[in-house]
Structure formats: structure tokens, C-alpha cells
């Protein structure tokens, strides 16, 4: 695990790389043509950022979620359109948690192959697996799979005779149908994936699979919350710069309280969410029993912060912020997509209410 100073260094590596290799004009190219494979392999392989947060046994730099969130926050801030979330946050971590698969995880970390996470819903609802002629096959529909159309490998959550099972399916295998969707957030492509008796390899089953899935979703919520904090910060930076420059009625619009206070409200949510994300990552790294709860709290907070920042950005920019050519909408739409992924703020508040009010208060008591 790194110190905060080392993390800040990691953060600035990501930032400098993306600012030079993939500015928002390049992100726009990705809206039409998908992410740039070369940028992706440089980011993962050359810079080694694909290895962050993965254990050394799997070619990683150490299983620190605190490090990972430093990376995903920066990816969010610059609207990275690559498959970091599905391949490295979801698939690679699930494989790692499930055990084995060191080589495949190392390949993912180096950006040589890309994987994604496939379930009937992104809370891990399983597809159906069964034995057929001595081999395992999987069937079912995953309605919105992140980077589903470009991934090489599908890491699938399936149900085999009532037991949760993590299996691998090659995207080119028979019985795999992929239908790209017109995602609102063009920086993160989606596809519907339909499996029909697709041949699969078991990675883990039963209690091990269940634990791996829970652990992965918990970490992924936090990493995605960090991304949302980055998105919110990016939108806030864009808007603040505009409010300083843009003159109306003889003064910079950022001098008007209506604008100033609105941006302060955004900033407060961004700061508070970032703090919560870092605490949640720390909780995972320290095996704190509150990690699950904190993962939901920070995902809820960051989702709302990013939506608030995206809406404020469009509004404060005025008519120019309503055009395609301006970048404000890219942030708003990324917020719209990412705030729903892995559970909305409302979904997570429902889980929190159950912890607080339905007698599962143990972890909360511990918190004091």
C-alpha cells in the first residue's frame, strides 16, 4: 500500500499521460470509433496502470484499493473512454478474488486482452449454467454490458444447480451474441449480451464464488465512485474556469452569487464524496467490517455529486453548454451513465436503511 504522497504521484502520472495522449478531442473521436487501442495499451502496459490495485501474484503492484481509486478518479476527470472499469476493476478483480487465473489477470493488467463482467443485472444476478455433454454451458441475457462489444473475454456470473459460479466465456465462442446499444454516455459503450448454451470454464463456485463476487462488487463500487468524483471535479473545473472568464453585464459571471454559490455547492459535494471514497478504500484495505456499508455510502454520494456537477455545468455555461461541440454535456452524460452503474444512489440508500433500521446494526455500532 502506498502513502498519500505516492498516490498523489500516481494520480499525476495518470493525469499527465491522459492530458497529453488523450485530450477531450480524442475522447470525442472515441464517441464515434470506440476507444483508441494504442492509448489503452500504453496506459495499461507501458505505464503499468493496469496493474494498480492487483496483487503481485497476478502481476499487480499490490492489492491496494487506495491506489486504485487514485487512478480511477483521474480517469473520470478526463473522461477516459477505455475499458478500465470492466476489464481491470470488475473482471480482473473478480478473477483474482475467485483464485487462480494468474496468467489471464496479468494479460488483462498489461492490456493485452480485455475482459468484461457479465450478469443479468449489475448487482451480480446470475445467468443460468448447466452441464451439457460433460461440459459447462451458460445461457441468458445481460441487458447492458460495459464494453460488451469489444471485450475478448466475458467473466460471467452464473447459477449452477443453485450455487453461484464464476465462469469464463470467450467472446468469439458459439452461442455468444452481442448487440451494441446506443448508450447515453458515449464514452462508455454498452452492449446487450445474449448467451445461448455458450461453452464456459469454471473459475470458482459456491461459497468461494459468492465471496469473490461480494468483495469485487464492494471494491468496484468504490472505484466507480472515485471515477464519479473525478467526473464531478472535471465538470466543476470546466465550469469554474468559464465563470471566471465569461463576462456579462460588465462582470465575470462567477462574481454573481447565483453562480458562485451554486459552484460552491457542487464543490462541497465533490470534496465530501472524495473524502468518503478514500475512507471507503481504506476500509477495504484494512478489512474493516464497515467496507460494504462505506462502499454504498460513497457510491450514493459520488453519483449525486456528479449529476449535480454535470447539470450545473450545462446550466452555468448557458446556451454554449447546450451544444454538442462544447464539452459540458460529455461530463453530464458520463455522470448519467456512471451514476446508474452498480446501483443508483437510491438503491444504495435502501441498503443503508436496511442496515440502520432492520436490526443489522452491528457494523454501525462498530463504527463508533
Amino acid at each position: 500500500m502506498n502513502t498519500q504522497a505516492e498516490r498523489d504521484e500516481l494520480r499525476s502520472v495518470v493525469r499527465s499521460f491522459l492530458e497529453s495522449a488523450q485530450d477531450l478531442a480524442a475522447v470525442r473521436t472515441a464517441l464515434e470509433h470506440g476507444h483508441d487501442a494504442k492509448t489503452w495499451t500504453r496506459l495499461t502496459g507501458e505505464l503499468g496502470l493496469g496493474a494498480v490495485g492487483l496483487p503481485e501474484s497476478h502481476g499487480g503492484t499490490g492489492a491496494s484499493l487506495g491506489d486504485l481509486v487514485a487512478v480511477t478518479e483521474e480517469l473520470g476527470r478526463l473522461l477516459d473512454p477505455g475499458p478500465y472499469l470492466p476489464s481491470l476493476v470488475l473482471a480482473a478483480r473478480l478473477l483474482t478474488a475467485a483464485g487462480g487465473q494468474e496468467d489471464l489477470v496479468a494479460e488483462l493488467a498489461e492490456g493485452r486482452r480485455v475482459a468484461t463482467f457479465v450478469a443479468a443485472a449489475d448487482d451480480g444476478t446470475p445467468l443460468a449454467a448447466r452441464e451439457q455433454d460433460g461440459a459447462l454451458v451458460v445461457s441468458g441475457v445481460a441487458p447492458a454490458v460495459v464494453h460488451g462489444a469489444t471485450a475478448d473475454i466475458l467473466v460471467v456470473v452464473a447459477d449452477l444447480d443453485g450455487a453461484p459460479t464464476v465462469v469464463l466465456v470467450e467472446s468469439g465462442a458459439p452461442g455468444v451474441e452481442v448487440q451494441p446499444l446506443p448508450a447515453v454516455d458515449g464514452t462508455r459503450p454498452l452492449a446487450a449480451v445474449r448467451l445461448t448454451d455458450a461453452p464456459a470454464t469454471v473459475v470458482a463456485a459456491g461459497a468461494a464464488a459468492r465471496a469473490a463476487l461480494a468483495e469485487t462488487l464492494c471494491s468496484a463500487r468504490i472505484a466507480l465512485a472515485a471515477e464519479l468524483v473525478g467526473v464531478a471535479q472535471g465538470a466543476l473545473d470546466l465550469t469554474t474556469a468559464y465563470a471566471k472568464e465569461r463576462q456579462q453585464f460588465g462582470r465575470a459571471i462567477g462574481s454573481f452569487q447565483a453562480i458562485k454559490h451554486r459552484l460552491v455547492d457542487v464543490m462541497m459535494e465533490v470534496e465530501a464524496s472524495r473524502t468518503l471514497v478514500r475512507r471507503a478504500a481504506e476500509a477495504v484495505d484494512e478489512a474493516d467490517p464497515r467496507a460494504e456499508e462505506l462502499s454504498r455510502l460513497c457510491k450514493a454520494a459520488a453519483s449525486e455529486a456528479a449529476l449535480l456537477a454535470g447539470k450545473a455545468s450545462v446550466q452555468v455555461h448557458g446556451a454554449i453548454g447546450f451544444t454538442w461541440e462544447h464539452d459540458a454535456h460529455l461530463f453530464l452524460k458520463r455522470a448519467m451513465g456512471a451514476s446508474r452503474l452498480l446501483g443508483s444512489a437510491r438503491d444504495h440508500r435502501q441498503h443503508i436503511a436496511a442496515l440502520l433500521l432492520d436490526g443489522h446494526a452491528a457494523t454501525l455500532e462498530e463504527s463508533r
Binding site: P182, V184, F256, Q315, A319, G321, T323
Partner: protein, 409 residues
């Protein structure tokens, strides 16, 4: 709203007309395909024009209906409720709610005789030329200029945020004609033909991915000297006059449009089995309440206009309520759609601004588009911030912000 006998007789006439034109089982224009819709718009515009309901309050000599505000209000509400457009072409809103009334008030007899009938036939299709890059909510911070060269104005500059300018062949524009004067005082309103080499129209793509706006570039564009509306230098007064026209008459149509939308949202709630979910119920009830507020504020505004009472704060309040209502209702729609709100799936929506008309789909694609376009409603025609300043100063009598030091010197 007080119903009058004359009003109800007119309503019957409109309903008979609608029955005749639309026939049984008309589902609303929202249910048509884009191709069907284009055909229908033309046919429907012709029917309205023949019935003299396209410009209901204009004098009959110019092709108008010679009707009053009360009838216009009834007409518009009935049309929206029936799922047909009040102003079928995109350019019609500029012709019939902006430049037409302006010409009726400020135009010379020649201007009226020349331009008004051609608006009805759509031989002239109008674009609006107020905003400029960099001006924003500050309407009179503009720099497009015109100089008189013999018997023609020569115009140079740029206008932006035009909707529908692609289809227009004329533009009415605020331009600076008296360079010595500052801000509001040196501006005139000119009518400028678009089909000339000095005018270039370029589309602007919006947040929804559609080419809904335009930029219009004037490079030594020309228009006849007498294509000025009102006196030289009076352009800001001419432009502001518009705001008083037809006070309140659209409020019934506004309500009908949002009611159709809320009905669609309630149907979505039922379809998704969310009608017994507590937070959904509370939000729907709240939306209904806000919509009824909007409705009766509109009726009060219209009643005031009909009775000749001086304008109250209703118009500005309605604009703020409306834009915030629509932002909230479309946010609710996305919350109801849940994970389906991440992709533009299903049939696309119909309206450029404001709620989708009767018959429109209740798909993620349609609601996402409404969510995004509703972001603009708090910007167009004076941001919500500016509206609040205006209300605070004009209605509550609160002091204005101090001017910046630079200006005061």
C-alpha cells in the same frame, strides 16, 4: 376559468373542425412516423389556414381570423389536447408569435401588406436574429452592425442559437445601426432575406446530437432600406414590445401539453409496476400539484389580460415554474426508468422544446431527450437567474445589484 357562451360556441366550432379533419381514432401527431409527420404537418397547416385558424387574432385582411385573445386561448388548448400542432412548421413560431405581431404593431402599411400574407402561405419562412455569440442573457450586448449604403442596409456580423433557420428564407434581426450610442440605444430591427450570397447558415449540433440550432453569418448582406421595423435606434423597444403580446393566451395549451406528458408518465409508472411505491406516489402527487399551479397561474394571467388588468408577475413566474417543472418531471422519468435510462432505446421523441405531443412514445430514448432538452428551458429567453433578478427588482422592489466600478466611472 370562467366559461362564456361565446367561448363555448367557439370551442364547439373548433371541435367540429378537429373531428372533420382528423376523423375517428386520431392518435395524436406523436404516434406518426417522422415521414408521416412531415406530410401531416403540411396538410394540417393548410387546413388551419383555410379555416383561418393559423393566425387567429390577425385582422382578416391579412388572412387572419379576426378573433380575440379568449378564442385564441381556447383554440390553442383544444389543438394541443387533440394532439395536433398549433404552429405546424418550425419557422411558424417566429412568424406568428414574434415578427408577425411586431409588424402588426410597428410595421408600416406596406410592410404589413407585403409580409403578413406571405407568412400565412409560408412563402416567407422566418428565423429570429437576436442572440449573438458572447451576449447570452444580456440581450442588448450585440455587435452585428448595419450601415445604410444608398437604399440598402449592409449587414455584417453573426447571430447564433437560431432554431429552424435552416428552413427559413427571412430573418428579423437586431443590429447596431447607430454606432455612437451605447448598448440598448443604438439598435434597430431589420428584416433580411436569407437567400443571398452575404448570408450563410450553418447548423449547430446540440446536446441531444441533433442539428437543432444554427449560426447565421452576415458578410456584406443586403436588405432594402425600408426593411426596418419601427424607427432607427428603437430596436430594443421594438423587441421588448413583443413580450407583452398575447399575454396568457398560450397558458391553456401549455397546461394541456404538460398534462399529456404527465399522463404519459403516470402510464409509465403503472407499466413498471411502481404505482404502489411510496416515493413514486409522492413525486407524482407533487408533480400534479405543481402542474395545477402552473395551470391556474396561466388562467389568472389570461383572465387579467382579458379584463384589462395591468400585468402581474404571472408571466415571469410561469416561465420559471414551467422550466423548473419540466426539469423535475424529466428527472423523475429517468429515475423511474432506472437502469433503462442508460441507453437511447425505443422510439425517439418528437418535440424540439417542451413536452412531447399526444401519441408520443414513452421510451427511454424519448424521456432521455426530454431530460436533456429540459436543461435548455432554464437558459432560453433569459436564464432562470435573470428571471429571478427581474422578479426581485420589479415585483418585490428589491434594489438592483450595484454596477461594476468600471461602468460607474
Amino acid at each position: 376559468m370562467m366559461k362564456t357562451e361565446a367561448g363555448e360556441a367557439f370551442r364547439s366550432r373548433v371541435r367540429s373542425f378537429l373531428d372533420r379533419e382528423l376523423g375517428e381514432g386520431w392518435p395524436g401527431i406523436g404516434a406518426l412516423t417522422p415521414e408521416e409527420r412531415a406530410v401531416f404537418r403540411g396538410r394540417w397547416r393548410e387546413a388551419l389556414r383555410e379555416e383561418r385558424l393559423l393566425a387567429p387574432t390577425w385582422p382578416e385582411e391579412f388572412g387572419g381570423g379576426g378573433l380575440g385573445l379568449a378564442e385564441q386561448a381556447i383554440l390553442q388548448a383544444e389543438l394541443v389536447e387533440a394532439g395536433v400542432p398549433v404552429l405546424p412548421l418550425d419557422t411558424d413560431q417566429f412568424a406568428f408569435t414574434l415578427i408577425g405581431p411586431t409588424l402588426l404593431h410597428w410595421g408600416t402599411p406596406e410592410q404589413k401588406a407585403r409580409f403578413l400574407p406571405r407568412m400565412l402561405t409560408a412563402e416567407d419562412r422566418w428565423a429570429q436574429g437576436y442572440s449573438e455569440p458572447g451576449a447570452g442573457s444580456d440581450l442588448f450586448a450585440l455587435s452585428t452592425r448595419a450601415v445604410l449604403d444608398g437604399d440598402e442596409w449592409v449587414v455584417n456580423g453573426q447571430k447564433v442559437w437560431q432554431t429552424a433557420a435552416q428552413d427559413a428564407n427571412w430573418i428579423f434581426a437586431l443590429v447596431r445601426t447607430e454606432p455612437g450610442e451605447s448598448r440598448g440605444r443604438g439598435i434597430s430591427m431589420l428584416l433580411i432575406p436569407i437567400d443571398q450570397p452575404g448570408v450563410e447558415v450553418r447548423p449547430i449540433r446540440t446536446i441531444t446530437g441533433e442539428d437543432e440550432f444554427c449560426e447565421v453569418f452576415f458578410t456584406d448582406a443586403r436588405t432594402a432600406a425600408d426593411n426596418i421595423v419601427g424607427p432607427r435606434g428603437a430596436g430594443s423597444k421594438v423587441a421588448l414590445t413583443l413580450l407583452g403580446f398575447e399575454r396568457g393566451s398560450a397558458s391553456g395549451a401549455l397546461y394541456a401539453g404538460y398534462r399529456i406528458e404527465l399522463d404519459r408518465l403516470v402510464a409509465l409508472v403503472r407499466d413498471r409496476g411502481l404505482d404502489q411505491t411510496d416515493w413514486v406516489r409522492d413525486r407524482i402527487a407533487q408533480a400534479h400539484l405543481r402542474l395545477e399551479m402552473l395551470r391556474y397561474l396561466g388562467e389568472r394571467n389570461l383572465a387579467g389580460a382579458l379584463s384589462g388588468a395591468p400585468p402581474g408577475p404571472e408571466s415571469s413566474i410561469i416561465k420559471l415554474y414551467e422550466s423548473e417543472y419540466h426539469a423535475q418531471i424529466t428527472e423523475l422519468a429517468l429515475e423511474l426508468l432506472g437502469d433503462d435510462a442508460v441507453a437511447w432505446s425505443g422510439e425517439p421523441g418528437v418535440a424540439h422544446l417542451g413536452p412531447d405531443p399526444l401519441g408520443s412514445p414513452s421510451s427511454p430514448a424519448a424521456w432521455i431527450r426530454q431530460f436533456l432538452t429540459s436543461r435548455a428551458a432554464t437558459i432560453y429567453g433569459g436564464s432562470s437567474e435573470i428571471q429571478r433578478n427581474t422578479l426581485g427588482e420589479q415585483v418585490l422592489g428589491l434594489p438592483r445589484e450595484p454596477r461594476p466600478v468600471q461602468e460607474a466611472r
